[in-house]
């Protein structure tokens, strides 16, 4: 029995043939299985669009929310019960368009969760409008005119927003993506994985063939020269090894510089990882000492007779008239 079997649900997957979402779904199922996390401990939150359907295909708690808001739903659940393993999955429109405010705010908090962006440059389910990651001047097939907006750089935005683990994957390198997911889930804090993925129906520019470099044949080997390359193969070190300012600044800057590479060479892998930032949950323990042992969702609120367990007398003390 393959391990990932336990994470498959019996719901028909209605993505287009060749959709990058398939690779992302497999990578999630494989990562969770290999990490041997029990399905009931996992809660997967999604937004709207093709990627929004992902939770239905996974045998774990699956919360398919509204457009752009998966992050705050997920954060609420995680803060109520920090024992949950929380994944958030959304499209580029979800996270960087309608939900951009939440995306930035999440970086300020560093709640322990993993956020996955299915980044294909288009709004697929509404038939191919330009998304926030589509570059200016690009005309994908459903656009009547070339895109007039500049693109958001998800890696750079995540880093400046405070994300403590920032990576990019490629939907059709499932093994590599699975590896990134495992690292992200293990990372204590908010992790972002921006996953490049073709949209076979509406993005006729950044296709599987384009990422694979099939338009660029090596004259010596006769093989395509892929645009995608792995940061780890190039000796790039994303880790903040010690929590000092200089080290952090240097790692952030080199990650941002790397994130600007595009076109002929597109890096995937981990851009930045700083394990030294306190998570929001840890910050809460400075105010609520037993928060992690006795979080909101696990608190008893009533006694056997149904009366409040909180000591109201004590709380009313300062309002009492003596």
């Amino acid at each position: 029995m393959s391990l990932s079997h336990t994470y498959k649900s019996d719901v028909h997957i209605d993505w287009c043939p060749g959709c990058g979402d398939f690779g992302i779904l497999s990578a999630i199922q494989m990562a969770l299985s290999e990490m041997n996390i029990e399905p009931h401990r996992v809660a997967i939150f999604s937004g709207i669009g093709c990627s929004g359907k992902t939770p239905h295909f996974i045998n774990a708690y699956g919360i398919h929310t509204i457009h752009g808001r998966a992050l705050p739903y997920a954060i609420g659940a995680k803060l109520a019960n920090p024992n949950l393993v929380v994944l958030v999955i959304g499209g580029d429109g979800d996270m960087l368009g309608i939900g951009a405010g939440h995306f930035v705010a999440a970086g300020r908090r560093n709640v322990d969760l993993t956020c996955i962006i299915c980044d294909n440059g288009v709004y697929g389910l509404t038939k191919g409008q330009a998304s926030p990651t589509l570059r200016r001047g690009v005309k994908t097939k459903a656009l009547p005119k070339p895109n007039i907006n500049d693109a958001v750089n998800p890696i750079m935005l995540a880093i400046v927003s405070g994300y403590t683990f920032v990576a990019r994957g490629y939907a059709f390198d499932v093994r590599h993506l699975k590896g990134l997911l495992k690292q992200a889930i293990q990372h204590k804090g908010t992790a972002l994985i921006d996953v490049l993925q073709p949209c076979p129906s509406y993005n006729d520019i950044m296709t599987k063939e384009w990422y694979g470099g099939e338009d660029r044949i090596d004259p010596v080997t006769g093989k395509p020269i892929p645009r995608i390359y792995k940061l780890e193969d190039s000796g790039f070190d994303p880790m903040v090894h010690k929590p000092d300012e200089e080290e952090i600044v240097q790692k952030m800057c080199s990650a941002i510089a790397k994130s600007l590479e595009w076109g002929d060479r597109i890096p995937i892998g981990v851009f930045y990882c700083n394990p030294y930032v306190l998570t929001y949950e840890e910050r809460l323990t400075s105010r609520i000492p037993n928060y992690l042992q006795y979080p909101p969702a696990l608190q008893k609120i009533a006694d056997e007779d149904g009366h409040p367990i909180a000591n109201l007398e004590k709380l009313m003390e300062r309002f009492k008239i003596k």
């Binding site: 809660a43 609420g76 803060l79 909101p296 009533a302």
Partner: protein, 650 residues
């Protein structure tokens, strides 16, 4: 005018100068003397400098609303004199600083131009000039007693007394001095004031001592200078009940803690933010007894996570996420924030998530009158959100009730698995009132149907079709109950389904919860009836006008008018049958509301087919006073006026 130990006192001044503190010291001193107290605050959307004022009603009998018939006005600045002098009743008193009387009214920069114009016209029509002393002159014509208090000179004396030569450090004590002067004129025992000051500055003993000294000095000075210049006084009474003096937002916050809310999200907005800030202040609280957290690990404390979000969309969605994990969760906001929440509300309705939105209305539309009062979001609370989904809208009428309602909102949400909107308003939020101490034994927490895994003989279906429409809930993280949620129409498991038959069954499952609600919730939770049930004049209202209406019932009775007052509490599902019963014998149905269009009236009309016959409405941003409720209802009953628009308040 001045009736049996029932005082209306007002203090005004620039925002940020300590008017609120002075008023709370005054109110507390009255309460310590056994009196019943109601206090309400008016302020601009401004941090420092604009005019704010506080009205305190203190009485031997119960008081539940404010009055604009002021008996004693305390002021230090010119603006307070100009704005409020003529609200003082004949033989009432004005305390003012003689150094401001020469000021030119048109030079007071913080008064709206249109207001200045109105004041000057009034003065002109009385043959008076354009300075503050002309206002005082007019007050004198109306038999209002003038008490000049040279604050700066008094402060200099106090500075010697407390051995603090720097007057600037003492400026804030002027407030306490004003309060003390008032009590001296009212011949109210200084001991109560001293105790109130000490309690107010409990953690700052030095400041407390200085203030008591200053207060004592002024109390004696006023006594010696003015003696019994006022014809009335204020006397303490014996009170045997255990009482608290508390604000609306605090009352709701305590109700949330009592009711088991352990996650509250919010985005800062007036007047809702106070509730969340207070909750954060008490985030760790004692429990009645130790509880076991994990095997052999005990806890003596409980806690609430107060989560300040990036916007109100994140507020409702994070609270919903927390509720999915099994926490009692809520968020608090006002109109503009609620506007942002409605998409999330619709999702919570679709996915049957128990989440509570505490909605403090303020003046709209748009930014409207952001720090002022209105009740114009009732229809919005009942209908906001796309599509049809069940919800409960629960309206509180006073501060004491708001505590118990905050618990009931949670109970309803979990019993029926739907969003509950607990609707209040600015007048309730920012008022203070002496209440009977809240009784936790009156509070029963009901968590509704939670799935029992042992009884599960099939795969768990979160949205299982049932007779009542309610399907047992599970929490994220529990073993054996994996479920899915989606904003799309879904099957019993929570997976997307566009099948037309499933749609019909699922829609009916959700919507019939409202029938279950209507059936299960008893009438006395849905509405409250006061006065003569058989009366042919019936007043219908909801929310904070309750206090003024109740306090006016006695006055109406004195005029020989019997009135039955129905306070509607559950606005959705609307208690149609109970209303029909109570309105069947009414000749006049008088709708009293703080809005333009009579929103409750519209609902009654659509539910019963017949609506109110008379409307008493107010939408100038100020709450309805006792006299206004009285005159408004009188005009409807005696003069048969169909639409009475109230305009009181400064």
């Amino acid at each position: 005018m001045y009736k049996s130990n029932s005082l209306v006192w007002r203090i005004g001044g620039a925002q940020g100068s300590g008017v609120d503190l002075a008023a709370s010291v005054f109110a507390r001193a009255c309460a310590i003397g056994g009196l019943n107290v109601f206090g309400t605050r008016e302020y601009y959307s401004n941090i420092k400098g604009m005019h704010s004022y506080f009205t305190v009603v203190a009485s031997s009998k119960q008081v539940r609303a404010h009055s604009n018939n002021v008996h004693l006005l305390s002021s230090f600045d010119s603006e307070t004199v100009v704005r409020h002098a003529l609200s003082v009743v004949p033989s009432g008193g004005i305390i003012f600083d003689p150094s401001v009387v020469k000021e030119d009214i048109s030079k007071i920069p913080t008064m709206e131009r249109e207001y200045v114009k109105r004041v000057l016209e009034t003065l002109k029509s009385e043959g008076l000039g354009e300075s503050v002393e002309d206002v005082l002159e007019l007050a004198k014509k109306r038999d209002i007693v003038q008490i000049s208090l040279p604050y700066l000179d008094l402060l200099k004396e106090v500075s010697k007394l407390v051995a603090e030569p720097q007057l600037s450090l003492l400026m804030r004590m002027v407030n306490i001095m004003a309060v003390s002067a008032a009590f001296s004129l009212l011949r109210y025992d200084f001991e109560f004031l001293s105790q109130s000051i000490n309690e107010t500055f409990k953690e700052r003993e030095k400041i407390a001592k200085m203030n008591v000294k200053a207060a004592e000095y002024v109390y004696d000075y006023v006594r010696q200078t003015y003696g019994n210049i006022l014809k009335f006084n204020l006397s303490p009474i014996k009170s045997s009940e255990e009482r608290i003096l508390i604000s609306g937002t605090t009352s709701v916050a305590l109700g949330k803690i009592a009711g088991g809310v352990r996650f509250q999200s919010y985005y800062p907005i007036t007047p809702a933010a106070d509730e969340s800030v207070y909750l954060e202040d008490i985030e760790v609280f004692e429990l009645k007894s130790e509880v076991e957290v994990e095997s052999s690990i005990m806890s003596k404390t409980g806690s609430i996570v107060v989560f300040q979000t990036e916007d109100e969309i994140a507020a409702i969605t994070s609270a919903t996420g927390a509720a999915l994990a099994g926490t009692r969760a809520s968020t608090a906001t006002s109109g503009p924030g609620f506007s942002l929440m409605v998409e999330g509300l619709s999702w919570a309705g679709m996915n049957e998530v128990p989440v509570v939105v505490t909605l403090y209305q303020r003046g709209g539309p748009s930014t409207g009158l952001p720090t002022r009062h209105e009740q114009a979001d009732l229809l919005f609370a009942m209908h906001g959100g796309h599509g049809e989904f069940p919800r409960i809208v629960l309206a509180s009428g006073d501060i004491e009730e708001a505590f118990y309602d905050a618990v009931m909102a949670q109970n309803y949400a979990e019993r029926y698995q739907l969003p509950v909107i607990h609707i209040l308003d600015k007048a309730l939020a920012n008022s203070i009132m002496t209440c009977r101490k809240f009784d936790p034994m009156k509070v029963i927490i009901e968590r509704g149907q939670i799935v029992n895994k042992k009884d599960l003989n099939e795969e768990y279906k979160r949205f299982k079709f049932t007779e009542s429409g309610i399907s047992p809930r599970a929490r994220l993280g529990d073993e054996g109950t994996i479920f899915w949620n989606t904003g799309d129409e879904h099957d019993e498991y929570g997976h997307i389904s566009e099948d037309p038959l499933n749609r019909v069954t699922m829609m009916e499952k959700r919507m019939k919860k409202l029938d279950t609600v209507a059936k299960e919730i008893p009438d006395h939770e849905k509405l409250k009836i006061f006065g003569e049930e058989s009366a042919s004049n019936v007043v219908v209202s909801w929310g904070s006008p309750k206090g003024a209406i109740l306090d006016s019932l006695e006055l109406l009775k004195e005029e020989g008018i019997d009135v039955c007052y129905i306070q509607v509490k559950i606005m959705k599902p609307f208690p149609t049958k109970a209303m029909e019963k109570n309105l069947s014998n009414a000749k006049k149905v008088i709708d009293v509301e703080n809005n333009y269009s009579g929103q409750l009236g519209k609902i009654i009309k659509s539910e019963l087919g017949i609506g109110p016959t008379h409307y008493v409405l107010k939408y100038n941003g100020r709450p309805i006073s006792i006299e206004e409720a009285f005159h408004g209802i009188m005009s409807a009953v005696k003069e048969d006026k169909k639409r009475i628009v109230l305009t009181g308040g400064v």
